[in-house]
């Protein structure tokens, strides 16, 4: 068997961007330092050399402008892919995204569409402190008209980005700083991972762990450790937060009788609450053997100090601890 080709998450994204741009002239990139600099995390490296500054557009530091430019271009026949350098800065694009991109189709009676993607890296773990470490995905989940995607592997990053760009709606595409250098199998030929399909990434019988983004890998590591104790976690990655494919989650909880939702964003008001509510409101309710729990970021801004930063969000140890408690009934 030939060896499977491996790419990093950043390379997988770049390959997807390149293929889309080669196929479709309407696709272009716009953002801060995405040209010769290659993007703050190197995702767009080399693309300006191939496609030129007309299709890889470096902007001034103007996040509202970037979002608006995507919307306007999308409304008039282009397929823009914007980059927000850190997810934190999307706060400056919020009006355009929430009040314009998300709503124009509905307000205009379904006659307009906004086929744009806005990519942005979320998350802590790099020492970037409170204003460069946000995980704000649930803000967008709360907005009708937007789709929200959060890939956790290079394979999904490539396939979901393609699906997002081909989708006729505004898609918020949330990457993670700590994932950019992670490696995994990525086929070269273009492929799609459809939006709105959760994935069971590990099967197990004792506890369903629903994890997003960087937490998927941590949940899998926790599962390895717990397997040695005879505790088997079933790990599910929703991959798309909106629309949310909850069927596999509900099916899984019917099997395991227990559920833990893990994400990096602050627990209160976070995506986990939605997942918990869906489980509690479903037929899985009758199968529950333990309370449904969440493990998420503390209700604090991300601290600079390395140790504090580490403890501000779920880590493998904390997932192991929480999962063990739930399975052993020690809650």
């Amino acid at each position: 068997m030939p060896e499977l080709r491996e790419l990093t998450y950043a390379e997988a994204l770049r390959e997807c961007l390149r293929q889309l741009m080669e196929e479709d002239e309407r696709v272009f990139l716009i953002g801060e330092d995405i040209g010769v600099y290659g993007g703050a995390f190197g995702v767009t490296a080399g693309l300006i050399e191939q496609f030129g500054p007309e299709r890889v557009i470096d902007t001034p530091i103007s996040e509202a402008g970037i979002a608006g430019a995507c919307i306007g271009a999308a409304l008039t026949g282009m397929r823009p892919i914007g980059e927000i350098q850190f997810m934190d800065f999307v706060t400056l694009s919020m009006e355009q995204l929430v009040l314009q991109a998300a709503k124009v189709r509905f307000m205009f009676g379904g006659k307009a569409s906004v086929p744009m993607v806005l990519r942005m890296p979320s998350g802590s773990g790099t020492g970037a402190a409170a204003q460069h470490s946000e995980s704000l995905e649930n803000w967008f989940v709360h907005v009708p008209g937007l789709k929200v995607v959060m890939p956790s592997t290079p394979y999904d990053a490539k396939g979901l980005l393609r699906a997002a760009v081909l989708d006729d709606n505004p898609v918020i595409f949330v990457e993670h700083k700590l994932l950019y250098k992670t490696k995994g199998h990525v086929p070269e030929a273009p492929y799609i991972v459809p939006l709105g399909q959760s994935k069971v990434v590990r099967e197990g019988s004792h506890l369903t762990v629903v994890a997003t983004s960087v937490m998927v890998g941590r949940a899998l590591q926790a599962a390895e450790q717990l397997a040695e104790e005879g505790i088997e976690l079933e790990v599910i990655d929703p991959r798309t937060l909106k629309p949310l494919d909850d069927a596999p989650i509900i099916e899984s909880v019917k099997k395991t009788g227990r559920a833990l939702v893990v994400h990096e964003a602050v627990e209160m008001g976070g995506f986990g609450g939605e997942v918990v509510a869906r489980i509690a409101a479903s037929e899985a309710f009758d199968y529950l053997e333990a309370p449904i729990r969440r493990l998420a970021g503390l209700d604090i801004p991300i601290p600079y100090n390395r140790r504090l930063e580490y403890h501000a969000v779920p880590q493998v140890e904390s997932i192991v601890r929480e999962a063990r408690k739930l399975v052993r009934g020690e809650y």
């Binding site: 703050a40 001034p60 800065f89 504090l308």
Partner: protein, 336 residues
């Protein structure tokens, strides 16, 4: 260099007399201190003793020192991400700054903020900012408060060329203008916003031209000439203190180092960097000026660098001996 010094001495004759040798020497010493701090910060980063990122202001020391010295006790400072120099010039304690940079409990922000968020509320240094242009609207509020409290304070807000292309810049300048707020908007134009050269980000010659659109005075000065910055900011501050409102001061300078830790600097040439280092270095220029004017001796000039390094050595020692924040205390400090 000699000729340049003569020219500068002539241009700033009155100012040199007014400030006097002691103040001028102190200003040069501050510039050395900033450079020594930044060089050590970079070294500590390379040694893996700090994580995260940092934005070094080597090459921009004249703007920081000129501006801070033009302000008075009780004035406010709003700083930005490339702000170590502004803090030091404002009079912050290098020990507590370094401790913050190293994430220690003894740091200005108890290790919670780091390089990009150093603040010293007690000295009205309202903090650096990780968000480009994040400080400008806040300056409006500070200016408004000064006016409402009827004090004679002034708010100095420092930001980069890149910040002038955020919407917040425009909102802030207009509000400051219509309400005649006591603000000095200092745009530190170091020619680049990360990889974006100002020539590509603006279709105007000087960022200070934008002031006119809001009915404010705008001036552009040589940001590597500490006395030129001092003069422009003094005048702007005096105007603000007289109740005549805000000014936009643009200081043209140059950043020697990469934007942050991971910058390959493919967007500019080594020659360009070298040109600024060799011909326009603010410390070299100011030392030369003071030497030519006979205000310091060669020996004194040499000692300044050593003294700065010694202060930074002590700051690192203080920081290394300082405790880390306690994890048990992680939830504290979010709410008042």
């Amino acid at each position: 260099m000699m000729q340049l010094s003569q020219d500068l001495i002539q241009r700033h004759q009155d100012l040199i007399e007014a400030l006097g040798a002691e103040t001028l020497k102190a200003m040069l010493q501050e510039m050395h201190l900033i450079r020594a701090f930044e060089e050590r910060a970079e070294q500590l980063y390379m040694q893996g003793k700090v994580h995260g990122t940092m934005h070094l202001s080597i090459g921009q020391e004249a703007t920081a020192v000129g501006a801070a010295n033009a302000m008075q006790e009780g004035d406010y400072l709003l700083n930005h991400h490339r702000g170590h120099g502004h803090c030091l010039a404002w009079g912050s304690d290098p020990n507590r700054m370094m401790a913050e940079f190293m994430g220690k409990e003894t740091g200005y922000c108890r290790g919670r903020g780091g390089s990009m968020h150093i603040a010293d509320i007690e000295s009205n240094n309202l903090g650096a900012n990780g968000i480009v242009a994040g400080g400008l609207p806040i300056a409006v509020g500070v200016g408004l408060s000064i006016k409402m409290r009827r004090t004679s304070q002034v708010c100095l807000v420092i930001f980069g060329d890149g910040a002038a292309n955020e919407g917040a810049f425009h909102e802030a300048l207009n509000m400051a203008s219509i309400w005649r707020l006591p603000i000095v908007f200092l745009c530190e134009n170091n020619q680049y916003a990360m990889s974006m050269p100002v020539q590509q980000a603006f279709n105007i010659e000087n960022i200070s031209q934008r002031a006119a659109a809001y009915g404010l005075p705008g001036v552009t000065v040589d940001g590597n000439d500490v006395l030129a910055v001092y003069a422009a900011v003094s005048e702007a501050a005096a105007r603000a203190r007289r109740g005549e409102g805000a000014t936009l001061v643009e200081a043209k300078t140059y950043r020697y180092k990469g934007h942050s830790k991971s910058d390959k600097q493919v967007y500019r040439s080594r020659e360009e960097v070298r040109f600024w280092q060799e011909n326009r270095d603010p410390i070299m220029r100011f030392s030369q000026l003071l030497l030519t004017a006979g205000l310091i001796s060669e020996a004194e000039a040499a000692q300044m660098r050593e003294r700065a390094v010694a202060i930074i050595d002590a700051a690192v020692a203080f920081s290394e001996a300082s405790p880390e924040p306690d994890v048990a205390d992680i939830m504290s400090g979010v709410y008042a």
